[in-house]
Amino acid sequence: MNTKRHDIRRRALQTLLIFAAGSATLFAQRASVTQVIRLQVLELNTIDISGGPVTLKITDFDPETSNPSPAMSGATRLVWTSNGENRKITAESDRSGSKFDLRLSAQDVSSGSGVSSSDVVFSDNSTHDLIVGVSRSAGSCTLQFTGAATLEKGVGSETHTITYTITGS
């Protein structure tokens, strides 16, 4: 009698062990681990020009004014990217004085990437706003230079180095 009871207990225990093993199989089917990552984007402003040096040659006269006809440059592209807020692009010549009139216009500014300011006249080496309202954007525009002279200025040549800068407004 005792032996039979012992067998029953043993079988019950075996059943429990098998069930426990099965339960472990059912519920222990995943494991996780975590990593902490630090993400950061610094403010950055980049700017570049496509196209080589610009040469303006005044070779004709305007028959109506008798003044030399202005010379216009070919298309040069200015491209930029800024993830800052309310930035602007300025232009500055390295010449403190200019014999001839040099004018710069930013044309076809890509949508949403800033607004062209008024034409820049490089009469000295002061800094001029070229494009304003640059915020979180990548943009481009065409740079159009115009060189002009009057008869009184005579002949000659001069070189300007123009520096473009993205800066705070």
Binding site: A31, V33, V41, T81, A138
Partner: protein
């Protein structure tokens, strides 16, 4: 007399044999062996900060940065179809992206997987078909990207969860 002595000796020897036979006994034990399903995964630590510092003029996509300084290790005996999923604690804001690439020698890596919008309810598979066994020291590569139009991002901690599951 001599015959009597021999007879007594034989009787005594027989008694010894009988006693010896009666002394044998056996016992049995039942051993119940089980190996539970085992899933283990760990990493070597946290990656370094991912900081974007530059971009290409005229492009909204800033130059992405990567980190492959950490590794993961796994052990599992469940099946040859186990996988690893990855998810963030919360989705990234629009304009930022984070991808993860887990190398694997026991399974098939999904390559760089964009987990920018993968949360606990939408974890993405990064390694599949993992065979039983162990795979130690496999490289984890993170890549962080951003658009200029998304603006700057101050240092932000994100929690990536890697889950070994069937």
């Amino acid at each position: 007399m001599k015959k009597t002595i021999i007879t007594l000796a034989l009787v005594a020897a027989s008694s010894l044999l009988v006693e010896s036979a009666v002394a044998q006994a056996t016992a049995t034990q039942n051993l119940n062996l089980a190996v539970n399903a085992i899933y283990k995964i760990s990493t070597s630590g946290n990656p370094g900060a991912l900081t974007i510092t530059t971009g290409t003029p005229g492009s909204d996509n800033l130059t992405s940065v990567t980190d492959n300084s950490t590794t993961y290790s796994i052990t599992q005996n469940y099946a040859n179809t186990v996988k690893i999923t990855a998810n963030l604690d919360a989705a990234l804001s629009s304009g930022y992206s984070l991808s993860i690439n887990l190398a694997s020698s026991k399974g098939t890596s999904a390559g760089a997987v964009d987990i920018s919008n993968a949360t606990s309810g939408s974890a993405l598979s990064v390694v599949t078909g993992i065979n039983r066994g162990a795979d130690a020291g496999q490289m984890i590569t993170y890549s962080f990207g951003a658009n200029a139009s998304a603006g700057t991002l101050s240092s932000t901690a994100k929690v990536v969860t890697l889950t070994l599951t069937n």
